[in-house]
């Protein structure tokens, strides 16, 4: 009897796939349908298993490829429909509705991880909105653009969008828009390490939210203030803001927001050395995440934080298990960024054990950055961590080369905070 053919490794499958934009969904599909071979769990390469070493069955891919193509068709169909709707609205003289249709098309692109395409839709919407007497549609578009730029690591552009949105919202007495703009500006400041600026923006947003009795916004702002306090090492005030955030959000049943708050609570507790409390907070965060609309990205990040906590406490088994769960969630939902972060964590874990084969996680992360995620900031983070891994193993030349690469990328992004950190690490390697 002929024995069945073995499945194909993801790394082999990807090598056969040309790097064409139109094939990106297929690339993601290959990852999401992949699974580890049954015997891999206990084989000696099991601990080093990355997505590239998982297997795909061509027959399964054939079946699922048709589904994926259908989804792509649906997506493109929805974009076409949004465009036609915008055109019809314009014909009827309803330019505000046209802006809304274009903005929604952009949001749809953003949801599927197509940031640049989303930006094109938003910018078209903005150009149309600028000519309107009613400025609210423009505020909405600017807020969407600001959030997108922030996600893509374009802090300066994000800040400009939010500033303009704030100015318009205040002129229009659009309270919700003004609060959202303050939140966005605070986020940009937080992301670039401008703590004073971040505090000022969040506080301004908080005053507006309290004045309008917007509990959800107050909860979000308390959460942001807690995040800021945590970053600056003020853990006691962080805890107090988190308590207030929970008071605002829990009665509203805002499950995802609660999950985020508890995730930060876990980080604060971990910072205070309250391990059991941190574990409990992360577990409750997962439970809230479960109750809300499925947000796999949020689940993955909570699991990564939990893994980080176990790692810091030297509980390597638990750390590995939780990181693997995060990896699984990331693969199943096509969350490349989170997948990369799982591999960085696993790589760091191996570095701690002085296990040289841990380099496979960084190599996989680099490959994912090159082929799927294409985020320079994330790539820089990967090189930085790879450099630190090599430092731990005593390979100074390699460590220096990777850290230099990280520095170059952070510099090109204008991320001074990270550039400074990498410089210090380079000095330590050279010392």
């Amino acid at each position: 009897m002929k024995s069945p053919l073995p499945p194909v490794r993801v790394e082999q499958a990807l090598r056969l796939l040309p790097e064409l934009e139109v094939l990106l969904p297929l690339r993601s599909l290959i990852l999401s349908v992949s699974r580890p071979e049954e015997q891999a769990q206990w084989s000696s390469h099991g601990p080093y298993l990355t997505v590239g070493k998982r297997s795909v069955e061509p027959a399964e891919l054939r079946q699922r490829a048709a589904e994926a193509a259908e989804q792509v068709k649906e997506h493109v169909g929805a974009l076409y429909a949004a465009y036609v709707e915008a055109l019809e609205c314009q014909q009827r003289g309803e330019a505000g509705a046209a802006v809304n249709a274009l903005r929604q098309a952009g949001a749809r692109e953003e949801q599927t991880g197509r940031g640049e395409q989303a930006r094109a839709w938003f910018e078209t919407a903005q150009a149309l909105a600028e000519g309107l007497q009613d400025r609210r549609p423009e505020i909405e578009v600017l807020l969407a653009l600001g959030a997108l730029d922030e996600t893509l690591g374009r802090h300066a552009e994000a800040a400009r969008r939010y500033q303009r949105a704030l100015a318009l919202a205040e002129a229009e007495f659009h309270q919700a828009g003004a609060i959202a703009a303050c939140l966005g500006l605070g986020d940009v400041a937080l992301g670039t390490g401008q703590w004073t600026g971040a505090r000022a923006w969040f506080s301004r947003g908080m005053r507006l939210a309290e004045a309008s009795g917007d509990l959800a916004a107050s909860g979000q702002l308390h959460h942001r203030l807690a995040t800021l306090a945590r970053r600056t090492g003020d853990l006691a005030p962080a805890g107090e803001h988190l308590r207030q955030a929970r008071e605002c959000l829990e009665p509203l049943g805002e499950a995802s927001a609660m999950a985020r708050v508890l995730n930060t609570q876990g980080q604060v507790d971990a910072g205070l050395g309250r391990e059991a409390a941190a574990v409990a907070a992360y577990r409750e965060a997962l439970a809230w995440a479960r109750r809300g609309e499925r947000d796999a990205g949020l689940e993955a990040i909570i699991r990564l934080n939990l893994a980080e906590l176990h790692l810091a406490a030297g509980r390597l088994l638990e750390a590995e298990e939780e990181a693997r769960r995060a990896e699984q969630v990331a693969i199943a939902h096509g969350l490349t960024r989170r997948l990369v972060q799982s591999y960085l964590l696993m790589g760091r874990m191996r570095g701690r054990q002085r296990d040289e084969t841990g380099f496979v996680f960084f190599e996989q992360a680099i490959q994912l950055c090159q082929t799927l995620e294409r985020s320079p900031a994330l790539a820089a983070q990967v090189y930085q961590d790879y450099g630190l891994f090599r430092t731990v193993l005593g390979s100074r030349d390699e460590a220096r080369a990777y850290l230099e690469r990280a520095r170059e990328i952070f510099e090109s992004l204008g991320d001074t905070l990270e550039v400074e950190k990498v410089r210090e690490e380079l000095q330590q390697v050279s010392a």
Partner: protein, 465 residues
């Protein structure tokens, strides 16, 4: 119409107050809540309530729980996975008892895989809940058995432990082959200890003073494996930031252990063949020829003969590597080595985690013995490590074992009379276990159970699987 349940507790009878198991019942449906409140005195348990998963997570984090009772919703498989995740890591590892509308076969299989032995049908019946809670208490009757002495074995991660006839044969082969520099091919299932044997051969051989360099061919990305083995010159390819010696060079005057050799591409197999035949290599991007001065030991968990037949492995390389073949036995075939290995790992991890583990309970040992050990010694090592970490006293008990093993508890004979299963319950659970093992394939399950597939289908229908 449903309303959220309150956190109020139902104390039960006075007898239930002290020493009775503490149970968290998580329900939002007022009907169930009302029923459980009414049954509380007869359940001999301290019962508390939570309305949903987030509140339950908060309450569970306080610890001290013996069991959690939950009702699965519209997506029961997904729900079950979340509940298992929520209960895992809770201090004391409470037992999960899940109720669901019409448990499907898929769900029963998933429950087995997740280690949830108590998957019960809704509407909730008092007797079902009472029996499940009784089963949760059986751990009380576990008897400790001292761990045996393992004898003198080398310290560290790489000791060979075992006295079974199968292992004695392996020891003889190692003793015979070690003094030479012959190439050795070690074959065996995952986790049987191929690297341990390779190290033993190295340490007892003429190159013992040299390095032992292990390369896991299946772990390293295919495009990097060549440079890992042979090294590279600076700039040989993108990412070659410095000149780097390969593992062949690093293992000079020692042993190079190529693990999972079958996972190498044919192109790389040709290069390995050249290195073995010519005894020389070149770094990637280099022109200098370097001598190969290593003893080569290869290992695989695959059937290389089959790989050759499928044109996935070079026949000439196989014969070059399999000068001395050694086949390692499965843990399931090693009889009482299981107990020796358990004792060895328990002592090793007890020392690492500063615990005073001296015994294992009869029930825990029974669970270890009834497990199929597809991951062999590596899986056992992992299980014992986890048990040592979670154990609080001097004895490893059933509750310290992972869910997958504890799921088999339901089919073990009961130590006491409390929580005994009916014959039908045992049969239903066993069928679910076998189906979980065959991933739901009825034909394969019927074959294992030794019954006709029509009989199995009928029984599955009867038991609501």
């Amino acid at each position: 119409m449903t309303r959220p349940a309150s956190d109020a507790s139902a104390g039960g009878s006075p007898a239930a107050a002290v020493g009775a198991p503490r149970v968290l019942v998580v329900v939002a449906e007022s009907g169930i809540l009302h029923s459980v409140r009414q049954w509380a005195p007869e359940l001999e348990a301290r019962i508390e309530f939570a309305p949903d998963l987030p509140h339950a997570a908060r309450q569970l984090s306080q610890g001290g729980w013996d069991a959690v009772v939950c009702a699965l919703g519209d997506r029961p498989e997904d729900d079950l996975a979340w509940w298992v995740d929520a209960v895992r890591g809770v201090p004391g590892t409470p037992r999960l008892i899940a109720f669901v509308e019409r448990p499907s076969m898929g769900l029963a299989i998933r429950a087995e895989q997740l280690g949830v032995p108590d998957l019960l049908p809704l509407p909730m019946r008092r007797d079902d809940l009472a029996n499940a809670l009784k089963r949760a208490r059986t751990v009380e009757s576990e008897a400790p058995m001292p761990l045996p002495e393992v004898g003198a074995v080398p310290d560290g991660q790489y000791a060979l432990v075992g006295r079974s006839p199968e292992m004695l044969e392996v020891y003889k082969l190692i003793a015979r082959v070690a003094p030479s520099t012959a190439t050795v091919l070690i074959q065996g299932e995952s986790g049987t200890g191929k690297e341990v044997v390779a190290r033993a051969i190295h340490e007892q051989g003429p190159k013992a003073t040299g390095p032992f360099v292990a390369v896991n061919c299946a772990a390293i990305p295919e495009n990097l494996l060549e440079s890992e083995l042979f090294g590279h010159e600076k700039g040989a390819f993108t990412g070659a930031v410095t000149r780097k010696p390969g593992r062949f060079e690093l293992a000079r005057a020692g042993t190079l252990f190529l693990d999972e050799i079958a996972d190498m591409s044919l192109a790389l197999q040709a290069k390995i063949l050249r290195a073995v035949q010519e005894r020389e290599i070149e770094r990637v991007g280099g022109t200098e020829t370097l001598p190969v001065e290593v003893r080569l030991i290869a290992a695989t968990n695959r059937d290389l003969k089959e790989a050759i037949a499928q044109n996935r492995f070079r026949e000439d390389l196989y014969y070059r590597l399999a000068v001395v073949p050694i086949r390692l036995p499965r843990l399931a075939d090693r009889g009482d080595d299981l107990l020796l290995l358990t004792a060895y790992f328990a002592r090793q991890f007890a020392e690492r985690y500063r615990k005073a583990i001296r015994s294992i309970s009869d029930r825990a040992l029974e669970l270890l013995r009834s497990h199929p050990w597809v991951g062999n010694v590596r899986e056992l090592r992992n299980v014992v490590e986890r048990a040592v970490i979670v154990a609080t006293g001097a004895t490893i008990q059933a509750e310290h074992l992972p869910d997958e093993l504890r799921a088999a508890e339901a089919t073990l004979p009961e130590a006491g009379t409390r929580g005994l299963l009916t014959l039908a319950e045992v049969e239903a659970r066993h069928i679910a276990r076998v189906l979980a093992h065959t991933n739901g394939q009825i034909g394969a399950a019927a074959e294992i159970l030794g019954i006709h597939r029509n009989t199995l289908t009928r029984k599955m229908k009867e038991y609501g699987l």
